[in-house]
Symmetry: C2
Subunit: 246 residues, 2 copies
């Protein structure tokens, strides 16, 4: 309360501070609550005060477990990375299947938490987070299993991850604005149509593409496009790095 408003008429009426109803805060708990809040209301809704309230805690109580908001976000990013399926150490289906599954899982994780792309630009891929490390080691192992040298595996890892992150970034941005609009994807596209048509006015190829996409199942198309691009990349990687011309 600001100073111009006396919350209680007298000291004697003021209630005692009730302590320890809830178990004490922990870093893990804070991260989990932040994740919930982000998933429920998006990046703009995450404020330390709201997070505090959700934890039955004061606005600044988190600062004993977390240096600042940025650090909290790094932790949350690594937490999300922990949801990504780790390639099996010795997948009998071969490296390609393992990497494909892992890439799909990464994309799915990003799309489950679309706010993450507006945080990735600050944290990179959360260098040194334990889940990131575990994941990367496993992917390297999968590539090595396919005959890649360690250096080639590193390049391949970077290429694939960059592709997945890049695709997911624009997808997630789209999904976010879509969610903010409150409409269905079809409705939203329809409402955007005049603007799109005018923007594409002088560009015949874009016009044609937009027109073709207008009445398609956009979500399915996105999945197909993702798969197709991933296949291309794996083809390229295999041709360049895998022995015995896969």
């Amino acid at each position: 309360m600001p100073a111009d408003k006396q919350p209680y008429p007298s000291v004697w009426a003021r209630p005692q501070r009730p302590r320890r109803e809830q178990p004490p805060l922990s870093r893990q708990q804070i991260v989990a609550a932040a994740l919930e809040l982000l998933d429920a209301e998006g990046i703009d809704a995450l404020s330390m005060r709201k997070l505090g309230t959700r934890l039955n805690a004061g606005a600044t109580s988190m600062y004993t477990h977390v240096a600042n908001k940025d650090e909290l976000l790094e932790l949350v990013v690594d937490e999300v990375y922990g949801e990504v399926e780790v390639p099996a150490a010795d997948d009998p289906a071969g490296w390609r299947a393992a990497i494909t599954r892992c890439a799909h899982s990464l994309r799915a994780a990003v799309l489950r938490h679309p706010w993450i792309v507006s945080v990735l630009g600050e944290t990179g891929v959360a260098y040194l987070g334990p889940n990131v490390m575990r994941q990367n080691e496993a992917i390297l192992a999968a590539f090595e299993q396919g005959g890649f040298t360690l250096e080639a595996a590193d390049r391949a890892l970077n290429t694939v991850v960059a592709y997945v992150i890049g695709v997911s970034t624009s997808e997630a941005a789209w999904l976010t604005t879509l969610a903010r609009s409150g409409r269905s994807e079809q409705e939203w596209v329809e409402s955007l149509w005049p603007a799109a048509e005018q923007a594409a006015q002088d560009y015949p190829r874009l016009r044609k593409l937009y027109a073709a996409q207008r009445n398609q199942n956009l979500s399915a198309t996105r999945d197909d496009d993702f798969d197709s691009g991933l296949e291309c990349i794996l083809d390229g990687l295999a041709a360049r790095f895998a022995p015995a011309g896969g």
Copy 2:
């Protein structure tokens, strides 16, 4: 000034509002100033007030030219996109060279304006911005020139752009934290080394890679890795979409 402080003792002492020393504000001018500010001080330093001051204008004067801050950022993103080299309509060196140059140019633009990656997550790739449209049309044309169908060109475009954005995202994030640290890249890596070593403790492949990278020219390595990944992708695209097995 807040109400508790009289800025002038009397009306007569109050200076007249000097008007029209500067030419009036324009959207283009605002976007340019925002770009300068972002390049000079990064994303956190862009506030409407600071931008106003830089333009010799009040804090809210921009709102007649721009709906809100988000819209301003969309405009700035498209502006940056305008710096990217557009593939020539009929490049004699072939589609591969054209796309390669364009991809390099896009990466360079992002790295010149590293703050952009923390905005891309909200705007996607600034759907419908005029520069984005022009650029995309030209890239589609370049792929078509290489014998791709329009649909294939679209997929190829998405794949390449996703890759470039993905790579640049983590690079830009790295460069940003590097800049914030105020140290040289070598020093920064050295200071991070103990943490990295510990994080990689249980992961032999990562340990080996880190050790190998420790004393390399990181900037050159990044360039090489980018090229190598791009080549892979173009190989994959050519094999899949270009006629007569380029």
